[in-house]
């Protein structure tokens, strides 16, 4: 087929080095300008159905099968809902602190994996570097100390999960009303042995992300960036709290949309829009409507929404971060990486605090429920952002309804905006160049999306780019290393 001069659709499918499946479509108008850009998700729904009919106490284990990368987040969000179903409002200190240790271990390992093995190739080699080099093996060859650091940090977090959840896969640590084990002295001492090294590496990683962002601020400030609302859980005093808190939403310039909202009532404040071209929903703040009410979640949003961080080194890092935008919310998409590393430092500071807390060796592990409920919401700040689990349970203890809103779904509109911004800024002509392809990936990757989790998809994804004309006919197709004309 001859190349058309009519409006064209460019499809980038799927995106490498993000979790799961994704496809990017860029629609051009008759003047070869970007008319629209969309991130498509391949959907495989069914998990909610899978849960129905199961006894509620099984759910915290079952939901870990949603995702192999962040099973702990689903485990904890589900068990927080099931605490309430079981009639438990307050956990024994040992139980809550063990869960927090599990969660900070999860944040620590997930952020380390993302930064060192998915993002660092882009930052260290540049967006235009050969993809054959711009990957973790390239990093291992040229910057072996960084690659080892990433592996060891990830491993440390994974071992924390194993010690608190019982095992790496299908951990059973958190149970409705509490936890089923404490941390032994020998386990604690094992983690304390490597703690200083982890702290040192975390500080260095924050410095690396900060230096990169500040040094490249001029080009990054506009890269895939836009103003948006931000959403996150905060403590009653406004502190960042990744395990538990109330909802706070702010505008792009920092005005509060709502604050200290009990997340049991989240459905009164947030809604989800369905669009015909996407299987994934588009959440928004109800009071603002779908056009103005979409928001970002995750590290950037959390740094923007919290009033302060309650660990000293991360708080200093937060203040440096906020100084870049004179204390106003930071809306730079690529600043996600710096924010993520501030959270890694916060997490290891929290881990240190917890490891020195004798409550972790306590033996009061589970509270007895009082008044059984039939519905409840569990919410947590997962590595990628706010995670909502909502359940209804009948009198026979069977789950009758389940609704999940995962972090990547919250970030659906922002990721689409980022792709569109990059496409408008970097598309030249009618072919998808390697440079454009790289930049689209870099913009999406900033959100650390977990697309398989968001859509319950499975499988892997190569990279394919298609150009289609106004009639939808394929004009040009490109994959990594292979290029064809239709």
């Amino acid at each position: 087929m001859a190349k058309s001069t009519y409006p064209r659709k460019i499809v980038i499918e799927p995106v490498t080095r993000v979790e799961g499946h994704g496809k990017v479509t860029i629609l051009l108008d008759e003047h070869q300008q970007v008319q629209q850009a969309r991130l498509h998700i391949v959907e495989f729904r069914g998990f909610e159905r899978f849960i129905q009919g199961r006894p509620y106490w099984e759910v915290p284990v079952l939901v870990q099968r949603l995702c192999g990368i962040c099973p702990v987040s689903h485990h904890l969000a589900a068990v927080k809902a099931m605490d309430l179903i079981a009639g438990v409002d307050h956990l024994p200190p040992t139980a809550e602190k063990m869960r927090r240790l599990m969660h900070y271990g999860q944040i620590f390992q997930s952020h380390a994996l993302h930064f060192f093995h998915l993002v660092s190739p882009d930052l260290l080699f540049g967006f235009d570097a050969d993809p054959a080099i711009r990957n973790v093996i390239g990093v291992a060859r040229k910057f072996p100390h960084l690659a080892v650091q990433g592996v060891m940090m990830r491993k440390y977090g994974q071992e924390l999960i194993k010690a608190t959840a019982g095992k790496k896969i299908h951990g059973t640590g958190a149970i409705p009303g509490g936890i089923n084990k404490n941390l032994s002295i020998s386990e604690r001492d094992g983690f304390l042995k490597d703690l200083d090294q982890m702290l040192k590496w975390s500080r260095e990683t924050v410095a690396l992300a900060k230096d990169y962002t500040v040094t490249h601020l001029k080009e990054l400030a506009d890269f895939g960036s836009f103003e948006s609302n931000h959403l996150g859980l905060v403590r009653k005093d406004g502190a960042m709290d990744l395990y538990h808190g109330n909802l706070r939403a702010i505008t792009a310039d920092g005005k509060k949309i709502f604050d200290q909202v009990d997340y049991q009532t989240y459905a009164d404040y947030l809604s989800e829009e369905v669009k015909p071209w996407s299987y994934m929903k588009f959440p928004f703040v109800k009071s603002l409507g779908p056009e103005r009410g979409w928001y970002r979640v995750g590290p950037l949003a959390r740094i923007n929404t919290c009033t302060f961080i309650d660990t000293p080194e991360a708080e200093v890092a937060r203040q440096e971060f906020m100084a870049v935008t004179q204390g106003k919310p930071n809306n730079i998409t690529m600043a996600y990486h710096w924010a993520r590393m501030i959270e890694i430092l916060h997490s290891i500071e929290k881990i240190k605090e917890l490891l020195h807390d004798p409550d972790l060796q306590g033996t009061d592990l589970r509270a007895q429920g009082r008044t059984r409920r039939n519905q409840a919401v569990g919410m947590i700040e997962a590595p990628r952002g706010t995670l909502i689990h909502s359940y209804e349970v009948n009198d026979q203890d069977e789950v009758t309804r389940c609704n999940l809103i995962v972090s990547t779904t919250h970030n659906n509109t922002p990721m689409n905006r980022a792709v569109e911004k990059v496409a408008r800024d970097f598309l030249s002509g009618t072919e998808v160049t390697e440079g454009l392809l790289n930049r689209v990936e870099v913009a999406i990757r900033a959100y650390d999306p977990c697309l398989s989790c968001a859509t319950h998809a499975m499988g892997r994804m190569p990279l394919v780019v298609e150009i289609r004309d106004a009639q939808g006919d394929l004009v040009h197709c490109r994959t990594r290393g292979v290029e064809t004309d239709a």
Partner: protein, 160 residues
């Protein structure tokens, strides 16, 4: 001194036959086997390079959506270039990272057990997958014992 043999099964037990890798590890755990490290996970990840580097030989056990029945066993070559998500690290990349990061050249094999049902949620293996799993476990058992005795065949096979 590195340990001799690591068998690492991976897959999602909540996705029907995708759980063949972990199921294989569970089956091996029920047998009394000498000098072998048995591990399972949802998928391979970069830190598996660290675990692999602690062993002389690694066998990666995964479900296969196509290919030989009941299983395909072959040597794994280091992967020189790759592009992967954290959901998807190939065995060849794991052993490349083991050498790049930890200086250990690991001999590696893959055991791909043929599965049939992947596109739904469920915690059971299909009947055919169960049969293939039994064949794979029977294939691995004498190999583990031979490994403990200090010898291991480098055979490649599509069946027992």
């Amino acid at each position: 001194m590195p340990k001799r043999l690591l068998i690492l099964g991976y897959g999602n037990p909540g996705r029907l036959d995708d759980g063949l890798g972990p199921a294989c590890i569970e089956a091996l755990r029920t047998r009394v086997l000498p000098d072998v490290t048995l591990e399972s996970d949802y998928q391979l990840t970069v830190e598996d390079a660290s675990l692999a580097a602690e062993h002389e030989v690694v066998i990666f056990v995964d479900a296969a959506v196509a290919g030989l029945e009941p299983f395909d066993f072959r040597e794994v070559q280091p992967t020189e270039t790759l592009s992967f998500s954290s959901h998807d690290v190939e065995p060849g990349a794991v052993i490349t990272l083991a050498e790049s990061l930890f200086g250990t050249r690991v001999k590696a094999f893959s055991l791909a057990i043929r599965g049939y049902q992947f596109n739904d949620f469920g915690e059971c293996l299909s009947r055919q997958a169960q049969s293939n799993l039994a064949a794979a476990v029977n294939f691995l058992t004498p190999m583990i014992r031979a490994s403990a005795m200090g010898s291991m065949n480098n055979k490649e096979t599509g069946h027992e």
